[in-house]
């Protein structure tokens, strides 16, 4: 693998993670439990779609075969997507969505703090920008996990169930492959494994305050680095891509 190929795949993965989570969060639009949370989740979705646009646009430029951020988003099938599986998991209830957000945003806060110093100028610039937004996402999700976890018997039970259900999807965020190793050596990417301890400490602190039990050792889901996904991604893409698949190049 050349440096250029690795950079393309890395940028694509960053874009895919943002795009797929954005699509999931936007499903909450007009369905939020209260107006303020409806606004919060759609605000997150908007931040993420902007980040996806920046990274996929850069990926298209690196690939150099005439793709754009739009064709990358709308013309690839599920096996060509490289987002972590956690991003494609269905929303569940509001507590479930906040738990997923906490797991992802806490990881992203660590990731983008380091990517700000990437030797690739575009990645560094988008990371600096996105970090400010991710801090809000992580803080908001953490507040809700605490409020619901340390809330009523029902809210606590539901948050614990969400934690147990999503936990097996958390380790994939820290998986390293050939792309990562090559770009870490170039000073472009981050050693994801090195972020895990800080991430877990942060999650443990939130759980302690939320009175939520940390899941034990278990089987961890894997596969997205090879384009292997849960059954949920295909359904998500079929909805997201419908218009451009049915009417290619249709303009708003």
């Amino acid at each position: 693998m050349t440096r250029e190929e690795a950079l393309f795949k890395y940028t694509l993965r960053l874009g895919d993670n943002a795009l797929i989570l954005s699509q999931r969060l936007s499903e909450w639009c007009s369905y939020g439990p209260i107006l303020e949370e409806d606004l919060a989740m759609t605000n997150f979705a908007l931040d993420l779609i902007g980040r996806a646009q920046a990274f996929l646009g850069y990926a298209a430029q690196l690939e150099g075969i005439g793709n754009t951020e739009d064709t990358l988003a709308f013309r690839r099938s599920e096996r060509q997507y490289y987002n972590n599986q956690i991003a494609e998991l269905p929303n569940g209830d509001f507590g479930h969505t906040m738990v997923r957000q906490l797991f992802i945003s806490s990881f992203e806060q660590l990731l983008f703090s380091q990517l700000r110093n990437s030797k690739d100028e575009t990645i560094a610039a988008v990371a600096a920008k996105t970090l400010k937004e991710v801090k809000y996402h992580a803080s908001h999700a953490g507040d809700w996990v605490i409020r619901l976890g340390d809330g009523t018997d029902e809210s606590s039970r539901r948050v614990q169930q969400a934690v147990n259900a999503i936990w097996p999807y958390t380790a994939e965020q820290f998986e390293m492959d050939e792309v990562d190793s090559l770009l870490v050596a170039e000073g472009i990417a981050v050693d994801l494994q090195s972020l895990y301890a800080d991430w877990k400490n942060h999650i443990a602190a939130v759980f302690a305050e939320a009175k939520i039990a940390m899941p034990g050792e278990c089987y961890m889901q894997t596969g997205s680095r090879q384009g292997i996904h849960t059954e949920h991604l295909g359904h998500l893409l079929s909805e997201m891509q419908y218009l451009q698949r049915a009417y290619p190049d249709a303009k708003w």
Partner: protein, 163 residues
């Protein structure tokens, strides 16, 4: 077509009239979004930076810039989005902040806002000036604003978040 050569100052002067579509009392220049203009022959490239990565106003601003330059006779105008350095509310002029306050939006407090959540605690009401205010929601009608209410005059208002 323009008969005399374009100058950067001339183009920047024209563009300073373009308003932020979400906060029409301030211009994109006062907001710090308009970064630079490059003139090469008859081509004009405008460098723009987004406030938030997903700000939907950027598309409108880009269209406004192209329409205005077209009207001024610049046939070859392009708009380039740049991310470095990342936009910050520190680039907003004091005048813009004052206009924003008069418009009913509490402007960002100041500074690099190292601690964004600390800055949220000292937001003054744009109507009566009281500092006794409370957050209703950290997320508002646009990505850049939060919802507040004033405990003194009881008016709800928007706060432009430090960024």
């Amino acid at each position: 077509m323009v008969t005399t050569a374009l100058t950067k100052e001339q183009v920047l002067g024209w563009l300073s009239e373009i308003a932020d579509p979400e906060i029409p009392v301030v211009s994109i220049q006062e907001m710090g979004m308009l970064r630079d203009v490059n003139i090469t022959g008859d081509a004009c490239e405008v460098l723009l930076t987004p406030t938030y990565t997903g700000c939907p106003a950027m598309g409108i601003i880009e269209a406004d810039i192209k329409a205005l330059l077209h009207e001024k006779g610049v046939a070859n105008a392009t708009v380039k989005m740049i991310y470095q350095p990342a936009w910050t509310t520190d680039w907003m002029t004091d005048e813009a902040k004052e206009k924003m306050r008069r418009y009913g939006i509490s402007p960002p407090v100041h500074s690099g806002c190292g601690d964004i959540f600390k800055a949220e605690q000292h937001v003054s009401c744009p109507k009566c000036g009281s500092e006794d205010t409370a957050v209703v929601s950290r997320f508002g009608s646009t990505a850049c604003k939060a919802l507040y209410k004033c405990n003194t005059c009881h008016e709800p208002f928007e706060y432009f978040k430090c960024h």
